[in-house]
Symmetry: C2
DNA sequence: ACACAAAAATGACTAAAAGTCAATATTTTT
DNA sequence: AAAAATATTGACTTTTAGTCATTTTTGTGT
């Protein structure tokens, strides 16, 4: 039987899932590779056929989980009839915020371990290997601008600022209720997104 | 002789400086505690009287370096006659950006290792122990708003969004020229700051 | 269906780094 | 200047990472 290249090997998945479970529950630093392989029910050596080291599995986990969340939001949007660009962006942001609010452990893991440089590098590597879907948000954004005749001097920069603003502020708002609990914070944030897109 | 509580013990400083030097040059992961103590010329055990582990010294380094940079910018501002709030904030931001541009290794270290949760936690701990100056930016901001009769629904939130936007975007703009090299990026960013404060 | 080759998996092993602590040195207090 | 408190040491133990010769599984050609 020919190997299905679209599926990641079963043991790699098991390692990823065990790693995620342990990182979430015990923290990254306090989880050893031995614990991960024990939990996954594979031998130590197998770990090293799929990952370079503990940092590698962490980076891949963050990239995969974040990317999945993002693509889910995008798919959901396509089922609605929201057509104004700013509201489309806010829909996606809102979906992601609500998801993370219900999955604070995931958010905690991402926010404690994510740094942008590593994230973009990892996403890019996975994308090269066809292991993740592509940057749909940028396409959506550029299409919306064209169709709706929105004037933006530099749309990539605008989108980039929105993404950064959302990710950096929401983490703290959800996890630490700083500077405001997320539900109070949302109006400010969404207002800012509208300004960024429409002004 | 009575111990001077305002000075951190000499060996702690030496460890911090050695740690910084090694983290910058070899990277955090590739630096061992043994190397740090060798470089600082102290025994292994001494490390553990000042720091819990390698993560602890890293967090304290980031907190101290970031805080110093911030306070330097603030002191410099006080020597100017800039009096409009938005321009004051932009002055500080500009000072910090220029500094980091000239010290990319420091920026790289911060951006690779900083996560906001850990940063605020560490700053807070150091502040409790009087090992760092306080949050002057918030005072400046609140004073400016009062004096200049600026109407902001929630100034803390506005300032917070500015800080987040600046830190998250500038890292990438300086280090990776993404989405634009920092000098092209600045106008967008400063424009955004003005909008946040004045709209 | 079998032999053969290639890839994946194993876990005992080595190497490296973390972290401890009883002994010693230094500093502070009385 | 003795006693008490604090800081420092580095040999040692423990923990964890990472390797690799061997075995098992999977895929391919005849």
């Amino acid at each position: 039987m020919k190997k299905d290249m679209n599926k990641e090997p079963e043991k790699e998945s098991r390692l990823l899932e065990s790693g995620f479970k342990l990182f979430i529950n015990k923290g990254f630093q306090d989880t050893s590779i031995q614990e991960i392989v024990d939990d996954a029910g594979v031998a130590k050596g197998t770990f090293y056929t799929y990952f370079k080291d503990k940092y590698d599995i962490r980076n891949k986990l963050i990239a995969k989980k974040s990317n999945k969340l993002f693509n889910d939001a995008y798919k959901k949007l396509k089922k609605t009839d929201i057509n104004k660009l700013d509201e489309q962006v806010i829909f996606i942001v809102d979906y992601i915020i609500n998801y993370l609010e219900k999955n604070k452990l995931l958010l905690q893991f991402i926010s404690k371990n994510l740094s942008w440089g590593i994230y973009t590098k990892t996403i890019n590597e996975l994308y090269q290997k066809n292991e993740t879907e592509n940057n749909t948000i940028l396409e959506l954004f550029l299409n919306g601008i064209k169709e709706q005749n929105i004037k933006l001097e530099n749309p990539e920069v605008t989108l980039y600022m929105i993404i950064e603003l959302v990710s950096s502020t929401c983490f703290n708002s959800i996890l630490y209720k700083e500077p405001l609990p997320i539900n109070e914070f949302k109006p400010y944030l969404y207002n800012e997104i509208r300004k960024l897109i429409n002004d």
